[in-house]
Symmetry: none
DNA sequence: TAATCTGTATATAATTATTATATACAGATA
DNA sequence: TATCTGTATATAATAATTATATACAGATTA
């Protein structure tokens, strides 16, 4: 596994770790049930406290990307797409409701709104 | 003018002042070019430092809701429709950013996302 | 013109939130 | 038993936020 800490980035260390591992899980670079480096091992590699790597792993677990087996290690969680969908769809629907409302109050047309979404989607690629 | 500070609200004082005055300007309760209470006078009424009321007024001015005349006072800015539109656009952009992110993490395709937005738009009619 | 309004500028105190850490602990494994 | 694994609690260091006092400068008015 590959994690690089950029001390000049301004982003906190735990967050850099969290973001990079998350990206690797989403991209499939890290497979389901694959074991992650131990929080101590990774900390040693990066020459930081293991509490900091632990914090990154905690975030990953809270968001459902990894699971932990006591005294054994941390593993990439099976991609539970349906569950993630159900949770996120609600949030997405609520947000869409809001932007449609906002668009209406400032005379932004539906077409323009769609264009904005398409633009944001392209930015993400 | 009417401003109430709720010490239990958790929100900072300057923010409570900012929010309440902003709401009164948007609702039209405060008319264009109407003079606001002086930062010192309001501070005295609320029994807080005038630096705190000043901060609230600074925010209001920065967002274009009021304007200041040196040594005279602060006044409600003429309603700028463009300004409100820009405010809403920012919120819309932030929301779109979020839904795109959410969609990505649960493998919801761009096409599907667009469909959801279109659906919500039709519902609004 | 002097007193007293208005807002401004600079420095600072107090508080809270964030970030990173050490140390002591408990289960699993070889 | 030695040594991995993760956990829990307490704490240090830093940074951001919030609120303030004091000294200043222009405008108004009695």
């Amino acid at each position: 596994m590959n994690v690089l800490i950029d001390n000049l980035s301004g982003a906190p260390i735990y967050d850099q770790i969290f973001t990079q591992i998350k990206a690797q899980i989403i991209s499939g670079e890290l497979k389901e049930n694959e074991m992650l480096p131990s929080i101590r091992g990774l900390a040693k590699d990066l020459r930081i406290s293991f509490i900091t790597t632990k914090r990154a792993y905690e975030e990953l677990e809270r968001e459902g990307f990894i699971y932990t087996v006591q005294a054994k290690g941390c593993y990439v969680a099976p991609k539970n797409v349906e569950l993630l969908r159900e949770e996120n769809l609600k949030k997405i629907e609520a947000n869409i409701e809001e932007i449609v409302q906002l668009a209406a109050t400032c005379n932004l047309s539906g077409t323009e709104l769609i264009e904005m979404v398409k633009f944001a989607l392209e930015e993400k690629l």
